[in-house]
Amino acid sequence: MATKAYDKSFREEVYQNVDSGEDVKLCMQCGVCGITCPLRGEMTHGPRQLWSLIRAGKREEVMNSPDIMLCTSCYSCKVRCPRGVKVIDVMHGLAHYALEQGIVPRKETAKFGKAFWDSIYKTGRVDETEVPMRYTMMAGPIHGIFNMLEMMDIGRALLAHKRMKFKIGPGLPPSKKIRGMKGLKKMLDKAKSMSPGKEG
């Protein structure tokens, strides 16, 4: 039985609302992006399939694809795409657009993003101890502690190499704020108000 496809409304939606969304039109389905990606093992669809789904009008699948939040901005795909599609921009654009629509395709990414954001918003810096702690604790106190214990070895190594400061919990002791924190906050608030997505 054939699935209904190629309803044009979703692709038009993407072309109009997503950052660099019109680039999707140019894809010739060669598949190079999916192989270039360092997270190719983690991706369910990869950019090529996502573009194909966008054209076919598969809104649910695209907006809920965790892939759109996996991109680490390594730029490999964008540099190599033979059609010059700005793959990263579209991936981030899709993520923003999904969050804006209240869809959270990959909760972990969203949580990490929040921890990352909170750290910057509060202290003006990314605290290497603070961010992972906040992130792991989002799973709740019990899960959080178990998760942290699991990562103890990495933590020890980081401490030994002085890449991390010792803390007993988020904000204990609190991280030092940068100078000019007020000004930074102003800038971040302004940026937030301009951005189509919310946070992450």
Binding site: C30, G31, C33, G34, R40
Partner: protein
């Protein structure tokens, strides 16, 4: 007839242009950069789709040139300047020394005497050749060449002393000559795209990653392996051969256009492998197979071979793996599967870069953004400097350019 037609490039389109004009009764000056005529097709093992040797047709063309007094030939020569306008050009030709004069009988004594070798340009550097050499076994003009690197060495003297016919001229020098012409046909051809620029194919990481032009030399009986298709790493026959289409072509970061011939070239080369190695498996990785017009029959024939398979995927990474294998990664765009495939010989179907992109015509000309020549008055592009194409299109184009040139000089 008053004015000459000057043809630049002695490949398929240039030779066609020169002959067709000369046989219609016009004087022609033919300028070729190499020491021999035939251009890129002379380096091919076979033509698609007939799988016949290019020299069969070239022999006829050379015979036509030999018997036609209207054609004046300059080899090892390049056009360095064009003055004047349509109907009245003065063309400066720079001829490099060959160090061997017309007394040469191709007896081979100088080659025997010389010890130094150079990478064989005819084999795209795959093999070595003595520094006193016949460019290739069927070369026309049939005469030796001495590489400039040995001229002032002991080897140069040895070559001279070995020649029984006084044909070695060590004090030969570059010459600049001027020819007058009413019209010019520019048929300078193409170069294989420098595939090392596509860095994810790691071209220089293994001798078993070769380009399609090198594959032609591997298959040719006059080539570095005597026509045996082998892995250059160890001389053994490959068992799993991959062809990677659009290696640099159809890519806005490299050659944005389609090089037109690479699909058929790979289909053809797949038959070379299958003809020689009955157990070898061939996989062709492609985006679209472009077997235009009657060439579709050839595609149909190749598809019917069970040991040749087609995977729709642009390969995104080639890396040396274990046991001398090469690991190819790609996304099968039909199944969606991201795969790793092991092959022991990888042929990159590299595209055609017009030579006018690499070196411009010394005249006021218009090019498209890829470097292909656009129509002009008096100077006519022919063949692959106009657009990528197969042999018969170059012949057609050369013939057509000859007529355009004749229109300029006719009646003058």
């Amino acid at each position: 007839m008053g004015q000459s037609i000057l043809v630049v490039g002695g490949g398929m389109s240039g030779v066609s242009a020169a002959l067709e004009a000369a046989e219609a009764g016009y004087d022609v000056v033919l300028v070729e950069k190499n020491p021999y005529l035939g251009g890129r097709v002379a380096q091919l093992h076979q033509y698609f789709p007939k799988l016949c040797p290019p020299y069969c047709g070239l022999e006829i063309n050379f015979k036509r040139i030999k018997s036609n007094p209207r054609i004046k030939l300059y080899t090892m020569s390049e056009v360095t300047g064009i003055q004047g306008e349509a109907g009245n050009y003065k063309v400066t030709i720079n001829q490099q020394p060959r160090y061997v004069n017309e007394r040469c009988t191709v007896c081979g004594k100088c080659g025997e005497a010389v010890e130094a070798t150079i990478p064989n340009p005819f084999d795209y550097g795959l093999g070595e050749i003595k520094a006193a050499y016949l460019p290739h076994e069927m070369a026309y003009p049939y005469r030796y060449v001495i590489d400039p690197s040995i001229v002032e060495t002991e080897d140069g003297t040895k070559a001279k002393e070995a020649c029984p016919y006084d044909a070695v001229v060590l004090d030969d020098t570059a010459k600049e000559v001027t020819e007058e012409a009413g019209a010019i046909v520019w048929a300078a051809g193409w170069s294989p795209y420098d595939i090392s620029k596509v860095e994810y194919y790691n071209f220089n990481s293994s001798p078993d990653i070769i380009s399609n032009v090198q594959m032609e030399r591997l298959a040719a009986s006059g080539g570095p392996t005597g026509g045996k298709i082998v892995k250059l790493s160890n001389g053994e026959a490959p068992k799993k051969v991959a062809f990677i289409q659009c290696a640099g072509s159809r890519d806005v970061n490299h050659l944005p256009f389609c090089s037109t011939i690479c699909c058929l070239a790979s289909l053809k080369q797949a038959t070379y492998v299958r003809e020689q190695l009955k157990d070898a498996e061939v996989t062709i990785y492609f985006i679209d197979i472009r077997a235009m017009d009657r060439n579709e029959d050839f595609y149909t024939k190749v598809k019917a071979d069970e040991k040749i398979s087609f995977v729709k995927s642009k390969i995104g990474l080639i890396e040396p793996g274990e046991n001398g294998m090469l690991v190819l990664e790609g996304e099968n765009t039909t199944t969606g599967e991201r795969f790793k495939a092991e092959h022991d010989l990888v042929v990159l179907a590299t595209g055609m870069q017009p030579n006018t992109d690499l070196s411009k015509i010394p005249a006021d000309m218009v090019y498209d953004e890829y470097g292909f020549v656009q129509a002009a008055e008096g100077i006519f592009g022919a063949g692959t400097v106009r657009r990528p194409g197969e042999v018969h299109v170059s012949v057609q184009d050369g013939t057509s350019a000859a007529l355009k040139a004749i229109q300029v000089v006719a009646g003058r």
